[in-house]
C-alpha cells in the first residue's frame, strides 16, 4: 500500500472548484481542503506504480499548473 500527501495547484483560482470535483472523482484521491497555495489531497494506491500513474494523470490535466508530492509512505499496512 502506498500513501502520499500532495498539493495540486490550479492554473487559476477560477479552476479551483472544477479541479476539486475532478480530483474527487478519482478513486485513489481524498481532497482534504483548499488553501492559499493549492488543494491538499491524500493519495492511496495499491503500490508505488499506481501512485505514480495517478500523480502523472493529475499533473497532465490542463487546469493543473503544479503537482507536488509532499509526503510518502509505502510500508505494508
Amino acid at each position: 500500500m502506498a500513501i502520499a500527501g500532495a498539493v495540486v495547484v490550479p492554473v487559476g483560482k477560477e479552476f479551483e472548484d472544477d479541479l476539486k470535483a475532478r480530483l474527487n472523482s478519482l478513486r485513489e484521491v481524498e481532497v482534504q481542503d483548499v488553501g492559499s497555495k493549492g488543494i491538499a489531497i491524500v493519495l492511496e494506491a495499491e503500490d508505488a506504480g499506481r501512485l505514480k500513474e495517478v500523480s502523472e494523470e493529475i499533473n497532465g490535466w490542463e487546469e493543473v499548473i503544479d503537482f507536488q508530492l509532499v509526503y510518502y509512505n509505502w510500508e505494508e499496512v
Binding site: 482534504q32 481542503d33 493549492g38 491538499a40 493519495l43 507536488q68 508530492l69 509526503y71 510518502y72
Partner: protein, 806 residues
C-alpha cells in the same frame, strides 16, 4: 479511539499536504521521536530538514518551517532521506582485494597501515605526484579540508580533484571571467521578488524542486507580471510551465544568447548607468583586447534573431520576445541554470553570455535580480569551490600557483611552504588518464562513483582496476568493484560537518545517530591515514591551537598528521583561511551555524551572533538602502545584510564594486567584464555517420549514480531502470514504440535501452538518465580534452550517436 497504522500514515500525509497548501494543521506528534536540524543530503539547494530519531535510528524527516530556503517543504528525495541510510547492503567492514579477485575483511588498523605503506612507498619512490585524491561535492567541508591539507600540505601534490569538476567547473569559469570572483552576487530570496525567470539548461522543476516551488509561488502571486522563459532542447516539466519555451537545437545556445544580447541593445533595453561598472573584452581569460560598447554592438549585428533563427531552431519572434521580457525596464530578472550550460564544450562561454545579459540590463545587485548558477551537489560550493578542492586552488579562493597564497595557507596549516605544490597538475579526467598511464600509482576516491560517472568510462574503469585504488563509500558501487581497498563510511547525520550551497550559504549537519557498527566517518579515515603517512615521510605539522572567537593562537603542537582532532577544530582552522578573503566565513562560528535555520551566507565578517552574512555581493550599504529601502533582512533568528560585508570591511568604493581580482579579471579593477564571444558549437556535433545527439542527465526520482536513491524502495519502484527518451517524430522514422529496444552507439561504446516515446525529446536528440548502474550510459560519452570546457569540464550534453532498432 486508537489510530491504526494506516490511519496514522494517512493523517500524516494529510498534515503535510495541508501545511504545504497554506492551511493550519493539527500535527500528530510522536513524542518518542526527537528532531535535530540538518540539511538535505541530495542536491545543491540545501533544504533545511528536521531529522527524527527514535531508538538510535532516523525514522522520519520533515522540512524545517524556519528555513529561509524551503520553508518547511521537501521534495520526494528529501522525504526519502531516512531510507537511504538503511539499505541491506551497507558496507560495514574494511575490505582488501586478494590475488584471486575476492575481498578479505581486515581491521581498520590493517587497512590504514596498508594504505599508508603503499602511498608513502610510492611517494618516496616516484615523488608526490604518484598519488592522488578524488573527492566529492558530497564530502563535508571538514573532510575536504582535511584531504586538501594531507595531499597539498603534507604530501605536497596538487593531485587533488573531485567530482565538482564534472558538474560546475564551467560556472566557476564564468564567474571568474565576468566578475573576477567565484559564486553568485545574489541569493535565493531574489526568486521571491523577481518578475522574470530566465531558466536555461536546467530542469529546475525536477532537479531543484524546492527552488521551483518558489518560482511557482512567485508566478502564482503575480501571474500577469511574472514571466517564465525556459530555454531547453527538451520539453521538460520546467518547460511545460513556461510562458515562453525556446526549444533550441542542441549546441546552438551560444547563438541564442548572443541574439538576445543583440535585441537588448537594438531595442533600447540597456541600462547605461550600470554599464559604468562594466568593461568589454574579447574572448575569455586575459587573452583578448578591451573594446567598447559600440564595438560590442557592432559585433552583435551578425547575431540579429532573423539572421540566426534557422541555426538556433527558434523563431526570431520568440528570441525577440525572450530578450524583451528579460530586459523589461523597471522589472527584475533572475537567471537559473545548471548542467545544460556547464557540461558543455562551450560551458564557460555560455555562463559568461548569461552574465552578459544581466550586466547589459543592470539586472544584478537589486531585489529580484541575479545571474544565479544552481549547483547539483550539497557541498560542491563549500567543500570544493571555496575550500580549494581542485588541483589549481587552495582554501579561501586562493591559487596554488600564487606564492603569496601558498605562504598564507602554509602558515595556517603549520607546514613549511616548500612542501606545497607550486603548480597544478591536471583536472579530474586528466588525473584518471594519468592513472591509466601509470604515472599515478595510487588514488583515494572518496564519496563519489567515478566508475559510473566519468565520461568514456571504460578506459578509466580499467585504470582504477589496475592501480592501487582506495574507495570510501557507504554502499557497493560500480567503483568499489574496482577498488583495492574499500573503506566503509558513515553518512549524512551519522557524522558531523558543514556544507555550502548555491547562494554562498553554509549549514551545519549534526551527528544524530551512530553509523552501523564497523563504519566510521571519512574525516576520521583521513585523519588516521594522514597520521601514518606523515610519520612514514617524517613530516611534522606545527598545529596552531586557536581561539575560535578571536583567531589568536593559544598554543602550538608539533604532530604527525593534520593537527586538528575534531570537526569543529578543522572548521575553525578553515575559517582562518577565509578570514579577510571575499569568501569570508570567519563569522560562521559553530554556534551560529547550529542556531540559525538556513545557516550563514558569506561574506560574513563578524562573529556577532545575529549576523548571518551577506545576501548580496558587490553593493555598498548606501546602495542597499537605495535599492532595497533597507540594509538588512531580518529572519526569524538573526539577519543578513543586503550589502556586501567584504566590500564594507575592506573600505572599497561603492555604490557598485565588482572587486574580483582573479587573474582573468586583470585590467578591470572594480568593474565586471562583458565578454565579447563568438558563437560556437560543442566538440562532437552529429554527422552523417552519427546523426543523433545524446543528452544525459538526472531524473526526479534519483540522484546522481543512484547509490542512495536506488536503495529506497519507492524511488526504485517509481523509476527502476534507465531508458532512452525518443521524440514521436524520431520514433516514427526509427519504427519504434515505447517499450521497444534501441541500440545507441557512439565512437566510444554502445548500450541497449528500452524506448520511451515522449514529447519531452526533441527530434534529432535523445536523452538517457545516468542513475542506472546496470546501464552505464557514460560508456558512450566523450572524454577527449578537446571536448572540455575552458574550465576542463567534460561535455555530457552533446555527444554524437547512431541508433538502431534491436
Amino acid at each position: 479511539m486508537a489510530l491504526s497504522r494506516r490511519d496514522f500514515i494517512k493523517a500524516s500525509a494529510a498534515a503535510a499536504a495541508l501545511s504545504m497548501a497554506g492551511l493550519p494543521v493539527e500535527v500528530l506528534a510522536d513524542p518518542s521521536i526527537r528532531y535535530g536540524r540538518s540539511q538535505c543530503r541530495f542536491c545543491g539547494t540545501g533544504c533545511t530538514v528536521l531529522a527524527g530519531v527514535k531508538n538510535g535510528k532516523v525514522v522520519s524527516v520533515k522540512g524545517d518551517a524556519d528555513s529561509p530556503i524551503n520553508f518547511g517543504r521537501l521534495c520526494m528525495k528529501g522525504y526519502s532521506l531516512p531510507h537511504i541510510m538503511y539499505g541491506k547492503d551497507r558496507l560495514t567492514r574494511p575490505l582488501v582485494r586478494q590475488a584471486d579477485g575476492g575481498y578479505k575483511e581486515v581491521s581498520w588498523d590493517e587497512a590504514f597501515d596498508l594504505i599508508a605503506e603503499r602511498f608513502a612507498g610510492y611517494i618516496k619512490k616516484y615523488g608526490p605526484d604518484s598519488v592522488a585524491w578524488y573527492g566529492s561535492g558530497q564530502n563535508t567541508t571538514q573532510e575536504a579540508f582535511a584531504a586538501n591539507k594531507l595531499f597539498k600540505g603534507i604530501i605536497g601534490t596538487a593531485n587533488v580533484e573531485g567530482n565538482p569538476r564534472l558538474c560546475m567547473a564551467s560556472a566557476v569559469g564564468g564567474y571568474l571571467n565576468t566578475f573576477g570572483a567565484d559564486e553568485p552576487a545574489g541569493t535565493y530570496d531574489d526568486l521571491d521578488a523577481t518578475d522574470c525567470f530566465f531558466i536555461i539548461g536546467s530542469n529546475t522543476a525536477e532537479q531543484h524542486p524546492m527552488l521551483f516551488r518558489r518560482v511557482i509561488d512567485r508566478k502564482s502571486a503575480y501571474p500577469g507580471r511574472v514571466k517564465v522563459i525556459v530555454a531547453d532542447p527538451r520539453y521538460t516539466p520546467t518547460a511545460r510551465y513556461a510562458d515562453l519555451h525556446l526549444k533550441f537545437r542542441p549546441g546552438y545556445d551560444t547563438f541564442l544568447l548572443n541574439a538576445m544580447a543583440q535585441v537588448i541593445i537594438e531595442e533600447g533595453l540597456v541600462d547605461h548607468d550600470h554599464l559604468k561598472y562594466c568593461t568589454f573584452r574579447k574572448g575569455l581569460k586575459t587573452k583578448g583586447d578591451f573594446v567598447d560598447f559600440e564595438a560590442f554592438k557592432a559585433f552583435l549585428s551578425d547575431y540579429a534573431p532573423e539572421k540566426v533563427e534557422s541555426r538556433v531552431g527558434v523563431p526570431a519572434g520568440d528570441i525577440r520576445e525572450a530578450a524583451r521580457l528579460f530586459g523589461r525596464k523597471g522589472y527584475a530578472t533572475v537567471s537559473l541554470w545548471t548542467m545544460g550550460l556547464n557540461q558543455r564544450t562551450k560551458g564557460v562561454q555560455l555562463n559568461c553570455q548569461v552574465h552578459n545579459l544581466h550586466l547589459l540590463t543592470g539586472k544584478i545587485g537589486k531585489p529580484g535580480c541575479d545571474s544565479l548558477s544552481l549547483t547539483g551537489q550539497p557541498n560542491a560550493c563549500g567543500g570544493t569551490r571555496e575550500q580549494g578542492g581542485l588541483t589549481h586552488i587552495l582554501p579561501g579562493h586562493r591559487a596554488v600557483a600564487n606564492p603569496k597564497h601558498r605562504a598564507e595557507i602554509a602558515e595556517i596549516w603549520g607546514v613549511p611552504v616548500e612542501w606545497l605544490p607550486k603548480k597544478p597538475t591536471g583536472p579530474a579526467v586528466n588525473m584518471f588518464m594519468r592513472l591509466g598511464e601509470g604515472k599515478i600509482k595510487a588514488i583515494w576516491i572518496n564519496t563519489t562513483n567515478p566508475g559510473q560517472s566519468l565520461p568514456n568510462a571504460s578506459r578509466h574503469r580499467e585504470a582504477m582496476k589496475k592501480a592501487f585504488t582506495v574507495v570510501s563509500d557507504v554502499y557497493p558501487t560500480r567503483t568499489t568493484e574496482l577498488a583495492t581497498v574499500i573503506l566503509p563510511s558513515s553518512m549524512w547525520v551519522e557524522k558531523e560537518g558543514v556544507m555550502g550551497q548555491t547562494d554562498r550559504r553554509s549549514q551545519f549537519i549534526p551527528k544524530l545517530v551512530d553509523p552501523p557498527a564497523g563504519a566510521i566517518s571519512d574525516f576520521q579515515q583521513i585523519k588516521e591515514v594522514a597520521r601514518r603517512i606523515a610519520r612514514k615521510l617524517g613530516r611534522k605539522t606545527r598545529y596552531r591551537v586557536i581561539d575560535p572567537g578571536t583567531g589568536k593562537v593559544k598554543g602550538v603542537k608539533e604532530v604527525y598528521g593534520l593537527g586538528f582532532e575534531t570537526e569543529e577544530e578543522a572548521w575553525n582552522e578553515y575559517r582562518l583561511c577565509t578570514r579577510g578573503q571575499d569568501v569570508d566565513l570567519w563569522g560562521a562560528t559553530y554556534e551560529k551555524l547550529k542556531a540559525h535555520a538556513g545557516g550563514v551566507q558569506w561574506p560574513c565578517t563578524s562573529t556577532e551572533f545575529n549576523n548571518r552574512g551577506s545576501a548580496k555581493r558587490y553593493i555598498s550599504k548606501d546602495r542597499a538602502r537605495e535599492v532595497f529601502g533597507s540594509t538588512v533582512r531580518q529572519y526569524r533568528t538573526g539577519y543578513v545584510t543586503l550589502y556586501d560585508q567584504h566590500l564594507e570591511q575592506k573600505g572599497l568604493k561603492g555604490p557598485i564594486n565588482y572587486y574580483g581580482g582573479h587573474p582573468f579579471h586583470k585590467g578591470s579593477k572594480g568593474k565586471a567584464i562583458v565578454r565579447v564571444l563568438k558563437a560556437g558549437l560543442d566538440y562532437e556535433m552529429p554527422d552523417a555517420e552519427y546523426p543523433y545527439v545524446l543528452n544525459t542527465g538526472r531524473v526526479i526520482e534519483h540522484w546522481h549514480s543512484g547509490t542512495m536513491t536506488m536503495r529506497v524502495k519507492l524511488l526504485r519502484e517509481l523509476n527502476p531502470r534507465a531508458y532512452v527518451e525518443v521524440s514521436p517524430e524520431d520514433a516514427r522514422s526509427l519504427g519504434v514504440s515505447s517499450g521497444d529496444r534501441l541500440k545507441l552507439t557512439s565512437r566510444r561504446g554502445e548500450i541497449v535501452l528500452p524506448v520511451w516515446v515522449t514529447e519531452r525529446a526533441r527530434p534529432g536528440m535523445v536523452f538517457v538518465p545516468w542513475f542506472d548502474e546496470k546501464k552505464l550510459i557514460n560508456l558512450l560519452t566523450i572524454d577527449d580534452p578537446k571536448s572540455w570546457s575552458g574550465a576542463k569540464q567534460p561535455d555530457y550534453k552533446v555527444c554524437a550517436i547512431k541508433i538502431q532498432r534491436v
